[in-house]
């Protein structure tokens, strides 16, 4: 990344208790690398009054408590937080090549009842089911953000040839861990919900566990790699993930 790129950001208030830092106007890896660099830096260097942050495709939103950030009414909270963020953006820029993204392997069983729509996706994309699996596991996917449901990753990087429209009639219940395709996106359902995605497989991992120190398995900035597993392995891994 060129040094000057990091300077192309825009800060704007989201109400009286948050500021959004926007790094670009399009969904791409270079923009998201800046999101990740800044988000990582902020996690390590929280300021007075910092509440939390939400990284997204092109932005990081920083929540703060104006009472605390103003040192109980002493400073102008917005100016104070802006100054600190601008300073951090400068420092984060120098560190933005820091850590390589974490690569998380997601084991997926694509067999039989685990991927009830695999056949349909194969027919729609004019591929064999084996080719769908091969293409899906070949990709490296970028976690752009977590949202919509607890632990739900917005993934970028699916091969265009796998794109398949959603089902016309959504299923009333989709088991947690289901891996699906909707349009040109692929995703994993963290909790049991209704939904219209084409389901091609299921992971035994728990994407969301409220009792885990880090409840969401995936974090914005991670990379995901799907690995095909057999039905036996699925049950083995499931026991490990849900055991005790």
């Amino acid at each position: 990344m060129k040094q000057k790129d990091m300077q192309l950001f825009r800060l704007y208030p989201l109400g009286d208790s948050a500021i959004t830092v926007q790094f670009g106007e399009s969904i791409d890896k270079a923009t998201h690398a800046k999101v990740r660099a800044f988000s990582t830096y902020l996690d390590r260097h929280p300021f007075t009054g910092f509440v939390e942050q939400v990284p997204a495709y092109t932005s990081v939103t920083v929540y703060y408590n104006p009472w605390e950030a103003s040192e109980r009414g002493f400073y102008n909270p917005y100016t104070r937080v802006m100054e600190q963020l601008q300073h951090m953006l400068k420092v984060a820029r120098e560190n933005d090549k820091a850590a390589a993204p974490r690569v998380v392997e997601i084991p997926v069983c694509y067999n039989g009842s685990f991927g009830p729509d695999l056949e349909y996706v194969a027919r729609y994309t004019k591929l064999t089911p084996q080719e769908v699996i091969a293409s899906h596991t070949r990709g490296k996917y970028q976690v752009y953000m977590i949202g919509f449901a607890p632990g739900f990753p917005y993934l970028g990087g699916m091969a265009k040839k796998l794109a398949t429209p959603r089902k016309k009639n959504p299923r009333p219940r989709i088991p947690a861990g289901s891996v699906g395709i909707a349009g040109n996106q692929t995703g994993i359902y963290p909790i049991e919900t209704p939904g219209g995605w084409q389901l091609i497989g299921q992971t035994p991992l728990r994407l969301f566990d409220p009792n885990r120190e880090q409840p969401s398995l995936l974090q914005a900035g991670d990379q995901v790699k799907f690995v095909a597993i057999s039905e036996d392995e699925f049950w083995e891994r499931k026991e490990q993930a849900h055991g005790a």
């Binding site: 704007y12 109400g15 990284p55 997204a56 977590i146 607890p150």
Partner: protein, 335 residues
């Protein structure tokens, strides 16, 4: 044991100030809709600021107290009644074991908060007691209260008892004894039906058509029946961008007024999603969110522009008021 639910009411949930720190994991904050009333309910019972309270919506529950308790009710006046005696809002009161609390007609607002001195004996989840209804976790078994639920309580704190020494449970106490003091309502938000709420321009304000930019400040909007803890739908004029735009999803928050393509604005409330992709025309200031939380579907609201600086001054003033309120409560004075 503490509270036994004889009737659940419309929507009674355990809430607190909200679950923070996990929005980046897609975990919404939840928490009380009216955080002011929630905070004062805890102050009035000598609780820590992060204790859980019951959020009671419009049609209240019927609750039996299986032990003597020191409690307080704040927020909406839903005609609370203890064994047939009218209960006073915004002050601590003693309830004798076996007493039954019920509610009647909503007189003002729609969300009442019940704090129990010592708090509820429930586990925190991800740092909070708030019920996360959509995920079925947190609060009491991740759901709204039902008939037959028994909610365990810790029993009055020393701070609670010192606020209201009569509550030590002398045997000759009547079933219902309220403190003689109450905080001065001038420190409360300006609760009113059909309020005008202060707001600052949202990040996409300038993208709306000239007429929409004007109408958002000049028109009144009716809070529709399809309004809940996630958001309020506002009926009235429909609002539109001057040019169609496909926005990239980014964070949204409590009080964000967003406008989907069909033009009906939605104000996001306590159970809002963490991110969204609709243009954000306004952001209601934090200190006016409690007023909005008490608006009943069918009532109307309007918006009045303030600057970010004013919004933050209001925030700071409210915190100063709450600091004073906490002090006055400790001194048991009418302030």
């Amino acid at each position: 044991m503490g509270l036994e639910i004889l009737k659940p009411g419309m929507l009674t949930t355990l809430q607190d100030r909200g679950r923070y720190g996990h929005q980046k994991e897609g975990i919404i904050t939840s928490g009380a809709m009216d955080t002011f009333a929630c905070r004062v309910a805890n102050m009035l019972t000598g609780n820590a600021a992060d204790e859980a309270v019951l959020e009671i919506t419009l049609t209240g529950p019927t609750i039996r107290f299986t032990e003597d308790q020191l409690i307080a009710l704040t927020g909406a006046d839903l005609s609370p009644d203890l064994n047939g005696e009218r209960v006073a809002m915004w002050r601590p009161f003693f309830v004798r074991k076996g007493s039954i609390l019920s509610f009647g007609a909503p007189l003002s607002g729609c969300r009442s908060y019940l704090a129990v001195s010592g708090g509820f004996d429930l586990p925190k989840l991800m740092g909070s007691y708030a019920t996360y209804l959509q995920a079925g976790i947190g609060g009491f078994q991740g759901r709204a209260l039902q008939v037959g639920d028994r909610i365990p309580c810790h029993g009055p704190t020393p701070a609670g008892i010192s606020l209201f020494p009569q509550a030590t449970g002398a045997t000759d106490m009547p079933d219902y004894t309220a403190a003689l003091w109450t905080p001065d309502p001038q420190f409360y938000p300006a609760y009113t039906s059909n309020p005008t709420l202060r707001a600052i321009k949202g990040p996409e304000f300038e993208r709306f058509s000239d007429s929409s930019q004007e109408q958002i400040w000049s028109e009144r909007f009716q809070v529709s029946a399809q309004s809940d803890r996630m958001g309020y739908r506002l009926q009235g004029v429909s609002l539109h961008l001057s040019e169609e735009a496909d926005l990239i999803s980014t964070a949204v928050t409590f009080g964000t007024v967003q406008v989907p393509p069909e033009g009906t604005p939605i104000v996001l409330m306590a159970d809002h999603q963490t991110t969204g992709g609709y243009p954000r025309i306004l952001q209601v200031v934090s200190v006016d969110l409690p007023i909005l939380a008490q608006v009943v579907p069918g009532q109307t609201i309007a918006f009045e522009e303030v600057s970010l600086e004013e919004a933050q001054q209001l925030y700071i003033r409210q915190e100063q008021n709450l600091t004073q309120l906490a002090l006055a409560i400790q001194l048991k004075h009418n302030i």
